[in-house]
């Protein structure tokens, strides 16, 4: 196994007085997909924001490709090759699909590379090519998610941080998007760090999984081992009582079969 491209050691981040991450450590191996599972408020999004520089950690070390990057400005982190595809799409609503993609490549000046990346995005998301002159705010939710991922690809990243790409999408669309993520990993050898509540979909895609709960990592193992753990459902939903458990079994069938 090769050395990790991204290592996180004992990182602590705060929202004002509230400690959102309480000492997280993890590794991402190049070419692999790492999934982070956890309920709402577990600190998953905060962890990604801390890596991408939108939030600064109070303590700890983040190393990317041998360089310490904790506390850097977001645009310097993008230049290093880390791109963050945020939760809830966050496209530029009044710009066209094409203009959104151009802004994804903001840090690059290499026109040939940008054109190449744009073709790559259109080959994975042909619908974006059809809609390239349409304003992004008028796309459907699934198309906006595709645009957000494609916009991330335009930065020609070495690692993508994906925050809940399944949020608010139908099971069919989730499947479609996760298939594309798998192809990106297989064909482009794209390294990914994926934050998800949809544990089954995320673990099927990932090589390695971490489970977060109230700001800490409570479990970590190879994804195919983790997926067989009976407790995993409790961890990712964060609900223990019997009634909710029934509810969840019903949901599971509906979502993954």
């Amino acid at each position: 196994m090769s050395d990790p491209i991204l290592t996180i050691r004992n990182v602590e981040s705060f929202y004002g007085p509230i400690m959102a991450i309480r000492g997280v450590s993890l590794d991402v191996i190049p070419g692999q997909i790492v999934s982070i599972l956890g309920a709402n408020g577990a600190g998953k999004t905060t962890l990604l924001k801390t890596i991408s520089g939108v939030m600064d950690p109070e303590k700890g070390k983040i190393t990317f490709d041998g360089d310490d990057i904790q506390g850097s400005e977001p645009h310097k982190i993008v230049l290093k090759g880390i791109v963050h595809v945020p939760e809830g799409r966050e496209v530029f609503p009044l710009l066209t699909v094409d203009e959104n993609l151009s802004l994804g490549a903001f840090t690059s000046n290499d026109k040939g590379q940008i054109d190449h990346d744009r073709d790559l995005v259109f080959s994975y998301f042909p619908i974006l090519k059809e809609r390239r002159t349409q304003e992004a705010g008028t796309l459907s939710g699934g198309q906006q998610q595709m645009l957000a991922i494609g916009r991330g690809l335009m930065a020609n990243p070495r690692i993508m941080l994906l925050d809940e790409p399944s949020l608010g999408l139908s099971p069919m669309l989730v499947q479609e998007i996760f298939d594309i993520l798998k192809r990106l990993n297989d064909e482009q050898n794209m390294t990914m760090m994926l934050v998800e509540q949809n544990a089954n979909a995320a673990l099927e895609l990932a090589h390695h999984g971490y489970v977060m709960e109230v700001g800490r990592i409570v479990m970590d193992d190879a994804a195919d081992v983790l997926i067989k753990t009976e407790d995993i459902q409790n961890f990712y939903l964060g609900i223990q009582d019997e009634g909710a458990r029934e509810n969840r079994r019903w949901k599971r069938k509906k979502t993954w079969r």
Partner: protein
């Protein structure tokens, strides 16, 4: 023929309002703050150009003073953001509003101290010249104001829609967080916007001082420009210009056809009507985020 004459002078006035409104909208779009000192910025731009050009002050050649005053106004806009506004990052918008209102007072008094309170006009090569067009007699300054405004608006349009920096500015105003994620240095972009707003105010000031007189209280017509920006739909650049033109054209017609005491309220009556019947303004860009 009378009406055509009124229309042209209204359009020329409206262009100045439109340029100030453009400054309001630029800053509002990029930073979600309203710079209530924008009108005073315009007045300051006028006095800076007068101070550089007029013979009783420095007496530089007009075409040399022009770029220098625009440079000074841009630098002032940039420094204002860099030294003051940026420190309020994360504070409530009220803080910025009050700060810019206070800044307006400071600029007014400073201008009064430096250049005095007498109305002054910019000595310029177009002064007093006339264009005859059909039966119309147009002041050369009025024509210049309209031409410059059209060119500037076109230039800004091209800048925002065609260049990378312009696109990044649009992106940063539409979704600041996403702009950070894309590696756009949002704070630097905002500094650039303040500088641009300073330059636009400078251009408006020069045009205004060339076609009429300015004194330190001239900046108060920023309130009319604010009304223009709201009529056009705060947040839309073409809307701001159109709002300015509407206000500018209404004024001379109102004073011609409505009793003197009432004509002054015409722009504000229009503002009220727009807010009641079309609360987002005439040219709003509002999109509801899809989940």
């Amino acid at each position: 023929m009378d009406n055509a004459q009124l229309l042209i002078s209204g359009l020329a006035n409206g262009c100045v309002y439109g340029l100030i409104a453009l400054g309001f909208v630029l800053i509002y779009k990029a930073t979600e703050a309203v710079n209530f000192a924008q009108g005073d910025f315009m007045m300051l731009g006028a006095f800076v150009s007068i101070g550089l050009t007029n013979t009783e002050y420095m007496g530089l050649p007009f075409w040399l003073a022009l770029p220098i005053s625009l440079g000074i106004m841009g630098a002032l806009g940039y420094l204002l953001d860099r030294l003051i506004i940026r420190r309020l990052f994360g504070e409530s918008q009220t803080a910025v509003v009050i700060l810019t209102i206070a800044l307006g007072f400071v600029i007014r008094f400073a201008a009064g101290l430096i250049w005095g309170h007498e109305p002054q006009t910019l000595q310029n090569p177009l002064a007093g010249k006339e264009v005859r067009f059909g039966g119309l007699v147009l002041g050369m300054e009025d024509v210049a104001v309209i031409v410059v405004t059209v060119l500037l608006t076109w230039g800004l349009y091209v800048f925002f829609s065609r260049t990378k920096l312009g696109l990044a500015m649009q992106g940063a105003s539409q979704n600041q967080l996403a702009a950070y994620y894309m590696g756009i240095p949002v704070k630097r972009v905002q500094g650039f916007i303040w500088a641009l707003a300073g330059v636009v105010a400078g251009i408006a000031g020069i045009l205004f001082a060339a076609k009429g007189t300015v004194d330190p209280t001239t900046g108060l017509l920023g309130i009319k420009a604010f009304a223009a920006a709201v009529i056009g739909g705060f947040g839309s650049l073409p809307g701001a210009l159109a709002g300015g033109l509407i206000v500018g054209v209404i004024e001379p017609f109102a004073s011609r056809y409505i009793a003197a005491g009432y004509s002054q309220i015409a722009p504000y009556a229009l503002l009220l009507a727009v807010l009641i019947f079309c609360p987002n303004g005439l040219f709003s860009q509002v999109l509801v985020k899809k989940v």
